[in-house]
Symmetry: C2
DNA sequence: AAGTGGTCTAGACCACTCG
DNA sequence: GAGTGGTCTAGACCACTTC
């Protein structure tokens, strides 16, 4: 039931007829993922060989490889040449949106997120902001201070510099806007595509302490990050400080893919 | 000057004659990486099309795609369907070893790392340790307390539970062993292939404070991680606490690849 | 020695971006 | 509408693990 015809195209329909959405290797990945998450393949188990999987789904080996590569990128399975792939974990990985947006993340893990702008002021970018946002030194940015609540509890203070070209849109948002990134996408068509994150710890300053209702000097987990559009244009540079114990970041890596780095000192790039 | 012959094999040599090491797509990736890092392609610039690159290297489009996929995984370039790939950053990404091994990392960034075992005791695994190490409850592990120095300064306290099957090897190491993972690889052939990392912040306990020479309650950056072999067998489960300001973790992600996650609360998996 | 993943080719259609 | 990346096929050789 594979086909013939042109050249490596399914008999007719499959993908030609799908018109939208259906991507073969993602379907295969999704089915495999479900099998893994359901425990059908326990941790440590060996997956069927690529040829077996290809036969089972009437797909080419290349497509199957792309499917398992997806799972490998999620940290669910691992592989080493010559041996069958093995199951590493059973946990589901979150999406990009859930990492870049506090609100999307909270929703994804079943909590209620709120936010309130405490201030929004236009001022010239600091040298660091200008560099992170790829703006000419001194360009005006919108500096925002925002308190984020999770299930009604204050858990994070967010200090964000928005690039000049989105400043007006952010200024126009209501004070209790739930998700700036969602609103930017809906209103202005500005969608974050890339992110870079720097994670460290620091003591709470007096403003941090007051807003988060902790003692001054108590530990905070800081996530600084820049978001950029599909074309690599930076949207915002943010300094988010979480109350200790309120969140944990997790990353999985392997000898063939190491997404996480560690830097000495203050996280300066050079 | 491509070839003919059998079926998609270079004329003769190229890869058949390499015998070892040379992998086409990695060569291409390396050359492109160098061009990016050298500034030949500035941030925001568009890369040549896949066909151009394929022609330039006399390789197939698939091979070129694998090369740029490597760079994309490193966060150097991004892509979106229909548009040329763009350069996102100029920083080099570190290797897996540099993330999993304090000593390898320090060396990679040009600092001098030392370590000293303060204690090594065998005791039954705690429930959490047993789960993380995939051991039967109560199995004996080797619990080690270790102080890590960077350029002579104490920066990290490491509390590690080594799985029973590597305990003897670790016990036999000298007290001032520079890198346990390196020694394990050299002496026992045990190589870490996979890692999972949980990152959060917490206040220094009294032992932490004494060893790191900071005040009790001052902020620490904690990285808990498990390392596993190629077959997915856990080697060690470790709780590493860094003095605030001494290190920063960094991750880059994109809408198509999000290696980092955020969890509410104490970082428990469920 | 058999099996399996890693690499590579050549060619095709589709979805999307850009000018 | 041309160009470009995304998906897919079919088949091949190689390096490595496993039995």
């Amino acid at each position: 039931m594979i086909m013939s015809g042109r050249a490596g195209r399914p008999a007719h329909g499959e993908r030609g007829a799908n018109g939208m959405g259906t991507v073969r290797y993602l379907e295969i990945a999704e089915e495999l993922r479900r099998a893994i998450l359901s425990g059908e393949y326990p941790v440590g188990a060996r997956l069927p060989s690529e040829s077996d999987l290809a036969a089972r789904w009437s797909a080419s080996r290349g497509t199957v490889r792309q499917a398992v590569a997806t799972l490998a990128a999620e940290g669910l399975v691992g592989s080493s040449q010559g041996a069958r792939r093995i199951v590493l974990r059973h946990e589901r990985r979150h999406s990009f949106g859930e990492l870049n947006s506090f609100a999307q993340w909270a929703e994804g893990v079943g909590h209620e997120a709120r936010g309130r702008f405490l201030s929004r002021t236009r001022r010239p970018a600091t040298p660091e902001e200008a560099e992170r946002l790829a703006l000419a030194p001194g360009t005006e940015v919108l500096a925002a201070l925002r308190l984020r609540l999770l299930d009604g509890e204050p858990v994070m203070v967010e200090r964000t510099a928005y690039a000049d070209w989105v400043a007006a849109a952010v200024e126009a948002m209501p004070e209790d806007c739930r998700s700036v990134m969602d609103a930017l996408a809906a209103d202005s068509g500005v969608v974050a595509h890339y992110g870079e994150h720097l994670i460290d710890a620091l003591p709470a300053g007096s403003e941090d302490a007051r807003l988060l209702e902790v003692r001054r000097g108590s530990p905070l987990l800081r996530q600084r990050h820049v978001s950029a559009t599909r074309t690599g244009r930076p949207i915002e540079w943010s300094d988010d400080r979480y109350r200790a114990g309120s969140v944990t970041f997790s990353v999985s890596n392997s000898a063939v893919a190491a997404p996480l780095e560690r830097h000495p000192g203050g996280g300066e790039h050079r």
